[in-house]
């Protein structure tokens, strides 16, 4: 039983010794560094650029401007390609631009011997711009007279809507109560500890090698080919160890430039390292959303109807475009399938850093608004928050009203009941009744979510693995699944070991990926890797096992049906007694002069399901009203992610996601000057992601269901933990103080304003109630 055990990550020792090599740890001799000249205004057009002084500086190898790069635009989103050209990503990027669309846009690039020289050369470039009014707020962006940030776009990247269930308007009319409010979420950033870093060189006259910190090596290969009009098979992408991505590296941002530069510098290695400050504004962020939710509710606790209208802001470039708003809304049906719902969303350009994929892809925004609104509906009929949800949520066997697929596994009700017990809901509800007045108050909150295990049917879901039996009887796996820190290599090894009957120590996934040899997979995103890989791993393992047993039969003269593998030995299937050890067999496969051959099994599998996953957060908070501070006393997350393959690693995922959710709730946001589009706090000191001291104890637990569409019963887990902490904490704040705060993050200053508005703080000569 290798699955279900908390085995130690296969890369743990490499990482804890500092021997794991990340992109920044690799070096090519004669490597040049490239640095971007970034715009100092957020919207405008370059009318003149003079790079002659920069070019003549000693140590500068080259300077390229937007005039020197290919004209054809390309799309950067790390999606699988759609064969339907109408579903392709928006191609609105060039390697460099003279049309400035956010403060920090890339106008030119200097390639030099070192970063200091490059930096000094950048200072020598003279740029003249015509500025345009900065468009940040939806009302300005959608003004018919507003300048089009991308010509012909009307400042819209996409728009769509859907509805399911009975007639919403009439259900609203007949509802006992209708609650309606608007919610806002902030622009936040991934803040993986490893910045984007890439270097490229040519190992032949016509082949480009790209070493990069990416979640999607095979997609990088395709998009670089598209951007440079260069044959894909002559591009090789190497993915070393990755220091986190959270979606930010599911985008092809700098690889095309690195490839372009080496191509134009006679194959010399060129590196692009983001500084942290560049990383913050010049890669990707999470889309801020403006969401209006109207909820109809009956006195008996039935959610009668829901109407959701969302505006997502993608910033300067489409990147993942409207997909994020579409995906975020698409999860509503799986959570409340019995409630007639209408959803409408549009995605707008703005003169802001470009938003792309980030952990849970639109769901944190939509589920925040939805679960705040659900809480408000429960309170409108004074029903217990947990009971209200239990009455309305999805149950196993329900049909997802959007995909029309049956939900085969759903443990959400059990998650709610487990979480309610873990937080001590009933007893604290009574106890905290005494904490509803005075300066320090306490409250409880809950919120649910649903999510998916991959992107099907929107995108293809393909996973590939190649297993081979080594000479010593161990197994190596080449997997298309991309390990970026989430632990996919370890659980894939566990899966294969489980099916093969080989101990997990003897099964290893090759860590580094190289698109020349790594089997095809579209990469790490959508919490998909363990789920979509499961069937490929299962089938490949079954096949390799067959090969092994067939060879054992030839060696022993026994029929292969009578043989099995257990604890690294061929055993008799009835008595379980060993008949042959795997090492002997493996040597025979390789070195016997006539029989056998290296035993391998390779499967590429397309998954045509996407099992919904569920979970909830319970929050117990204390609010210091005069100090405008929320203290998280306890946070509980309970998940239905199917069978848990590695409990310790799974809990680690939950802890990390919850911490990211806490940051988004209480402190994380880009502070932006609405006049200029400048991000004030683009660094890790001023962008407040939680430190060790800001992160409370987090309890993680699982309701294990066995998902039949998965090879090992597992479903998605990577992204979901981030989704429900924000609404749970907001609902706890409402419980504690009676004050609804409908925007994220709920910073002390936001609390100050809310408490002042609601009379809990008297402004001026201060005092409090």
């Amino acid at each position: 039983m290798a699955t279900g055990e908390s085995i130690i990550r296969h890369d743990a020792v490499a990482k804890v010794t500092g021997r794991a090599e990340y992109t920044q740890d690799l070096y090519k001799s004669r490597m040049l560094v490239a640095k971007y000249l970034r715009s100092t205004i957020a919207h405008g057009r370059v009318t003149d650029i003079d790079v002659s002084a920069a070019r003549s500086l000693p140590g500068v190898a080259a300077v390229f401007t937007f005039k020197d790069v290919p004209r054809q635009p390309f799309a950067t989103a790390g999606h699988p390609m759609s064969l339907d050209s109408s579903h392709r990503d928006v191609a609105d990027r060039r390697l460099l631009t003279g049309d400035i669309r956010f403060m920090g846009d890339e106008i030119a690039v200097v390639v030099a011997e070192d970063e200091l020289i490059a930096g000094n050369a950048l200072k020598q470039i003279r740029v003249t711009c015509t500025p345009f009014p900065v468009l940040i707020h939806p009302v300005d962006i959608l003004d018919p007279n507003a300048r089009q940030i991308h010509e012909g776009s009307a400042n819209r990247v996409g728009e769509h809507g859907w509805r399911f269930g009975a007639d919403i308007e009439s259900a609203m009319d007949h509802a006992d109560h209708v609650v309606e409010d608007s919610f806002e979420t902030a622009m936040v950033q991934h803040c993986h500890l490893e910045n984007h870093v890439v270097f490229a060189y040519m190992d032949d006259l016509d082949r480009i090698v790209i070493v990069t910190s990416t979640q999607i090596p095979h997609i990088v290969r395709r998009i670089v080919g598209e951007a440079l009009d260069f044959p894909l098979s002559r591009i090789k992408v190497i993915k070393p160890y990755i220091g986190g991505g959270f979606g930010n590296k599911q985008d092809v941002i700098f690889e095309p430039m690195a490839a372009f530069l080496t191509l134009h510098l006679n194959g010399r290695p060129v590196a692009i390292h983001m500084t942290r400050e560049e990383e913050m504004i010049g890669t990707r962020v999470r889309h801020p959303f403006h969401i209006r939710v109207k909820t109809g509710v009956m006195k008996d606790g039935t959610l009668a109807a829901r109407d959701v209208d969302a505006i997502a802001v993608t910033g300067a470039y489409a990147s993942h475009g409207h997909s994020v708003a579409a995906a975020g809304g698409g999860k509503i049906g799986c959570l409340y399938p019995h409630t007639p719902t209408r959803y409408h969303a549009q995605t707008l350009y703005a003169n802001l850093p470009a938003a792309g994929a980030m952990r849970a892809y639109g769901s944190p925004q939509i589920m925040y608004a939805l679960e705040c609104a659900t809480e408000d509906a429960a309170r409108a009929i004074t029903m217990d928050s947990v009971e209200f949800r239990l009455k309305n949520i999805v149950r196993q066997g329900d049909i997802d009203p959007l995909s029309q697929k049956t939900i085969h596994t759903c443990g959400l009700a059990e998650c709610l009941i487990r979480g309610r017990d873990m937080i001590g809901w009933q007893s604290k509800k009574k106890k905290y009744a005494a904490y509803k007045t005075g300066p320090v108050r306490r409250g409880l909150g809950v919120a649910c979510f649903s999510y998916a295990s991959g992107t099907y049917p929107v995108c293809v879901e393909i996973a590939s693995v190649r297993l081979s039996l080594n000479q010593d009887g161990t197994v190596h796996i080449m997997a298309g699944a991309t390990e970026i820190g989430q632990g996919s290599d370890t659980v894939i090894a566990q899966m294969a070991a489980h099916t093969l009957g080989i101990s997990h120590e003897h099964v290893r996934v090759i860590q580094a990926q190289d698109t020349d040899v790594t089997p095809f997979d579209t990469g790490a995103y959508a919490s998909r890797q363990a789920y979509v890989s499961s069937n490929a791993v299962f089938r490949a393992s079954v096949r390799l096992k067959e090969h092994i047993l067939n060879h054992a039969a030839r060696m022993t003269g026994m029929h292969s049906d009578l043989l099995d593998i257990e604890a690294d030995h061929i055993v008799a299937s009835d008595t379980r007694t060993p008949v042959l050890d795997l090492k002997t067999l493996a040597l025979d496969t390789c070195y016997h002069k006539t029989r056998g051959g290296q035993l391998t099994a390779e499967i590429s599998h397309k998954t045509t399901t996407s099992a919904p996953v569920f979970g909830c957060t319970f929050a117990d908070i204390e609010v210091d009203i005069p100090l405008c501070k929320i203290t998280l006393r306890q946070i509980v997350n309970v998940h239905d992610s199917g069978i848990i393959l590695n409990p310790v690693q799974a809990r680690g995922q939950v802890h990390g996601g919850v911490a990211m959710g806490i940051g988004a709730t209480l402190s994380e946001e880009f502070l932006i000057d609405s006049g200029t589009g400048r991000v004030f706090n683009g660094n890790l000191l001023d962008y407040k992601f939680p430190t060790f001291m800001d992160t409370p104890p987090v309890d993680a637990d699982f309701i294990e269901t066995r998902e039949p569409s998965s090879g090992y019963g597992n479903k998605a887990l990577g992204e979901p933990p981030v989704i429900s902490p924000p609404p749970a904490i907001r609902n706890a704040l409402l419980d504690a103080t009676g004050v609804p705060v409908n925007r994220l993050p709920i910073t002390p200053e936001v609390l100050f304003k809310a408490f002042t508005t609601h009379g809990l703080i008297r402004p001026g000569r201060t005092g409090h109630v």
């Binding site: 100090l627 405008c628 402190s667 004030f680 430190t691 001291m693 200053e749």
Partner: protein, 290 residues
């Protein structure tokens, strides 16, 4: 790499003074946590450095024969936060030192640098203001002493004259003996942050009265500042909740916070007032514990 144009290592304070005299454009670097960040951000003011990093001569915490506490300007915050002498006599400074950045920063950053960079958010400044600290500066013209409150001239401007080295910080005996104190840093995170408001209180009681009361703030104006009207309200008054509320109201007359992208003036004013309450109460609790 930093764009350092010239680097001169000083082996002693006298050498530093001589190097500064010989190179008027050069600036001192000690812990590096501020100067190197400025260089990283392209500052041209610090490209010529006289290095006093790790000078043992500047790293001390001692009691002089007159019972004044002397702190070398090169003393790092970890030393201050862990020093028995500071913990016993200057808890307000120990609190402040322990609230700076994170462990690495506290291991590197010096109290002298914290004062000389002139930041209104310097955590050590309100504590030193509340302790009536004196700064001892040395140049090739000799020593001079200046009260810390007079050292701050304006936003990020301090009275560090060309060629001067801040050598030590002196807390006079009469400024701390018999006093209890507390510093509270109000920030967006519990570590690795810049104070939204920093508040230090140093007080002495006599029976049920406040015999002396000093309150100082960081980020409540262009420089760290004391609150004369609040102090006047407090001194010689009976200790009570009403008095604490009066102090909390009075500080608003002494401060002039501004709106920045970090926080609005209104919010800062509110926190300033609340901290007067909170920090005073904690300082009073400390008196009771002694």
């Amino acid at each position: 790499m930093f764009d350092i144009q010239s680097y001169m290592k000083a082996g002693s304070v006298d050498e530093a003074v001589a190097l500064l005299a010989a190179h008027p454009n050069a600036r001192l670097v000690a812990g590096g946590t501020d100067v190197l960040i400025r260089l990283r951000h392209g500052s041209r003011d610090f490209t010529r450095l006289v290095d006093i990093h790790g000078l043992a001569e500047l790293r001390f915490i001692s009691l002089d024969p007159l019972q004044n506490i002397r702190i070398g300007s090169g003393t790092v915050f970890t030393d201050l936060a862990q020093s028995d002498l500071i913990l016993r006599h200057l808890p307000v400074l120990a609190d402040a030192a322990g609230s700076v950045g994170g462990p690495q920063i506290r291991n590197m950053a010096t109290i002298g640098g914290n004062i000389c960079n002139g930041a209104p958010s310097a955590d050590s400044a309100p504590a030193l203001f509340a302790l009536n600290a004196l700064l001892e500066l040395k140049s090739n013209r000799g020593f001079r002493q200046v009260p810390v409150a007079d050292f701050y001239l304006g936003p990020s401007v301090v009275d560090l004259k060309p060629g001067e080295v801040l050598v030590s910080i002196i807390i006079p005996r009469e400024a701390y003996q018999g006093y209890a104190g507390h510093y509270y840093k109000y920030a967006m995170r519990k570590a690795m942050d810049i104070a939204t408001i920093g508040c230090a209180v140093s007080l002495k009681t006599s029976g049920n009265r406040l015999a002396d009361y000093r309150i100082a703030y960081g980020v409540a104006g262009p420089t760290p500042l004391r609150c004369p009207s609040a102090e006047k309200t407090a001194v010689n008054q009976m200790i009570s909740d009403t008095l604490v509320s009066k102090i909390a109201a009075a500080v608003e007359d002494d401060v002039s916070p501004r709106t920045s992208w970090r926080a609005t003036r209104e919010f800062r004013l509110h926190i300033i007032s609340e901290l007067a309450r909170k920090v005073t109460r904690t300082a009073l609790d400390r008196v009771r514990k002694e």
